[in-house]
Symmetry: C2
Subunit: 484 residues, 2 copies
């Protein structure tokens, strides 16, 4: 068995399912990459459904005809999870972007999967409730966020995306529609398939609707930038803050070295030049005095442990400025080099310094620039590798060696491969070494239960037993080019 | 194929695996029931392992010899989930009760599955952190809590048990040991098998160790008993409190009718006699003034919506007294009748009054006493059915009719069969009608991936395709007696 390519007959069938103006054939290069553009593969056709029934009909058709299907939100992923590696049909969710229900009685917002994080924020702006998870990338769709269980910057206090999704509607590969979870707070009724599908990167079923959990919007948000003589010193303060009973909404870290990228990118000086390492500490809540007091306690702990003079974001303009800097770090790094790759390991928070030691050692031994920053409150690091003047092959070799060693380090420290970006296509070759053959076999069997013909997002997350696997996997990730 | 009964040879093998003094053969009637005693079935043998390796060896042996295995914590369940319906081996976890690691740097506590909720509370009493989930039954083991995703009384603010389990170690049916999740806050690395196994009621794998999430213990806890003219009036206030941006730690409801059971049981007057319906409102936090202010706001909202004079629990003695009453309600109800059964549906919180209407109607039409109380903040109701003078057969018929109608109501309102007690053996016959054949087939296939010989906790949660099913299921649940 091998995957079918899409024929003119298939395209006619798809035009019958959705209207002709929502079938893009041949697919444009818009559909061949994600944000990193390291992996490229062009689908045969892209379709833009608007309803569950249309998604169901597309999947039923594809499953009957063994045509691979990849789902795409806004393609802001970094691991190639939404790149259609086996060509076939790309389901573009951009037109499934409706609010289905705002229910203040039950504190839920039900939306279609193509609704973006910024759309959610705008929709809720004049309402007393907010959706908590805060990924840096506001153009990402909520469906994409759910597919990787995108974590964001408030996980230490509020948990990850998973904890804020009450229910999902999914279309199974045979076209049946299922609801897992719902508006209820509790559920002890059979296996938790909602959380199995959240984070499965489009390999089990297609999420089409999500019931999001809302919470009262905390009116008070205080941010302080705390400089230290170096990043390790900054990070070592974090467990002390948490042990004091303080629960910050955010605890971001970055180094002066990383800030320099931003200064070069924006041609502006950063607001502080006293430190070589920074914590950006956020406390939120419903009472100004209490939030202020908790923040003061945290700053005292920081001071007792070597912090330099903290900079309080006294007004909204300063807050916006410091977060703009934080959210532009990736772009600033990307501008400095010919290509970029990333690893987003997560470790127990007390182990972050040991990962940073390893990064410093690898930077030296491989002679690759590795700027980094991350979420000190939840142990999730963003470590970049810059291609610079290396050839694609040289860079691929270096990236491979760096990744293997960083994964080995994270594994030894009780960490996981990815805190929020997922495994996708780019990290699939490392999955089995990290988690073992037994676990991979278990995942393969679960995959086969949901998707017996392996048409859903082939070659992603872990080694699968679908057709053509060896052929595709023998390609160097960095050398895959559009097939068309 | 049919399940094997345990032979003398098997018992000798089990004595080799664990020491002879930890093999109970023949098993005593201690092992044939859970807290409700509605379902009884005696295992052939009970074993008390102390380590993962012993559990692994037991499972490997049982799987090779097709002997059914049921895991037992402290048997505080109500749905027969831990009753060994196919006899075989009962794994009694009471001796796996160690703390493995307290890690204040990463805010985790790692324990074996037989550690009880009260053990956790005692262990943490002199530490600055607490484990949040608060099931009423403190004798329950954490392993049992994880198996049903026991919800408890703080779900509205803090989520259910699931959100407080960072990682689990499980023994698979073939004896391999797996770790799902860990100490990290985030994880986006393959399917979420942790949450698949949490809540699976011992049908997929055996949880042996749990990494629990700790949070700083909120030093301030304020409780107020708010009387209303009736329960529906009380419950209707809840969405208004939540919409005002207030997040209580607990929102329990009960009626005067239910309180009368407690008064008869304890021969004491309850602390209030002004109302026919009550809310027990709890606010917690780290600042006395703020907690007090939030509470005051909630009370004002209650007053504006018909609350009678609230009773503040001014000191620890009053707090203990009111919670003792709340925690004794089930026992008080049990004392008044010959047998009891329960349903713990969960619905979106705004729909609770409609469930209570249905309960009132069924009470009349079936002439069965149905005292009830529940968690108004998360939509989870505890509705009891008293056998009184009905014959077992009559009662079984009435329970069946009541359950069918309440499930139909909950389903129509977007609810789930169980909020925290699980499905077990007692509610398995209703599962397929509630969730549909497609979903059941999906669960069956997942079950078969983990437990291909169907030896783990047979006849539970949903109809399985294991051996002997029809034979056992044809028995009336209420008439199953010890087989030995």
């Amino acid at each position: 068995m091998t995957y079918r390519r899409v024929t003119k007959t298939d395209v006619d069938a798809l035009r019958e399912i959705v209207s002709a103006d929502r079938v893009i054939y041949p697919a444009t290069t818009h559909y061949d990459h994600d944000q990193f553009k390291q992996v490229r593969s062009l689908p045969d056709v892209a379709v833009q459904p608007q309803t569950n029934a249309e998604v169901a009909a597309i999947l039923r058709y594809a499953n009957e005809h063994l045509i691979p299907v990849t789902v795409r939100g806004n393609a802001t992923g970094l691991m190639g999870a939404n790149v259609p590696m086996a060509q076939g049909i790309d389901i573009d969710m951009i037109k499934m972007n409706k609010v289905l229900e705002y229910d203040p009685d039950n504190l839920t917002l039900t939306v279609q999967n193509g609704f973006r994080i910024r759309d959610i924020n705008e929709y809720l702006a004049d309402k007393p409730f907010t959706y908590i998870p805060a990924p840096a990338m506001k153009w990402a769709t909520i469906g994409g966020n759910a597919s990787t269980n995108a974590g964001g910057m408030r996980a230490v206090k509020y948990g990850t995306t998973r904890e804020h999704i009450r229910g999902i509607t999914v279309v199974m590969v045979d076209g049946t529609i299922q609801h897992f979870g719902g508006k209820t707070v509790k559920n002890s009724s059979g296996y938790d398939l909602r959380d199995l599908i959240v984070g499965s990167e489009g390999t089990l079923a297609v999420i089409t609707e999500l019931i999001l959990r809302l919470v009262p919007r905390p009116p008070v948000n205080l941010d302080v930038l705390v400089p230290f003589v170096n990043v390790k010193k900054a990070i070592s303060v974090v467990p002390k803050i948490l042990q004091a009973g303080l629960v910050p909404a955010g605890l971001e870290f970055f180094s002066r070295e990383t800030i320099k990228y931003w200064e070069n990118y924006t041609q502006q000086p950063f607001m502080d030049h006293t430190g070589d390492g920074y914590l950006l500490v956020t406390f939120d809540g419903h009472d100004e005095a209490v939030v202020q007091r908790d923040l003061d306690k945290a700053l005292q702990i920081a001071k007792d442990n070597g912090a330099l003079a903290p900079i309080r974001m006294g007004d909204e303009a300063h807050r916006v400025a410091v977060w703009k800097t934080r959210n532009q770090l990736l772009t600033a790094i990307q501008q400095t080099t010919t290509a970029i790759d990333e690893i987003d390991v997560v470790v127990p928070i007390s182990q972050i310094p040991r990962v940073l030691d390893k990064v410093a050692a690898l930077q030296d031994s491989e002679q690759v620039r590795m700027p980094n920053f991350g979420h000190a409150g939840d142990g999730n690091l963003h470590i970049y590798m810059c291609k610079d003047d290396y050839s694609r092959a040289e860079f691929a070799g270096k990236v491979d060696r760096i990744i293997r060693q960083l994964y080995a380090t994270a594994r030894k420290l009780g960490g996981e491969m990815s805190g929020e970006h997922g495994i996708g296509f780019a990290r699939e070759p490392y999955f089995e070494a990290y988690y073992g053959q037994d676990k991979v076999q278990l995942l393969q069997k679960i995959k086969s239960v949901f998707d017996p013909n392996h048409i859903l997002n082939p070659y992603k997350v872990f080694p699968t037993v679908g057709p053509n696997r060896q052929a595709n996997r023998s390609l160097d990730v960095n050398d895959i080019k559009p097939k068309q």
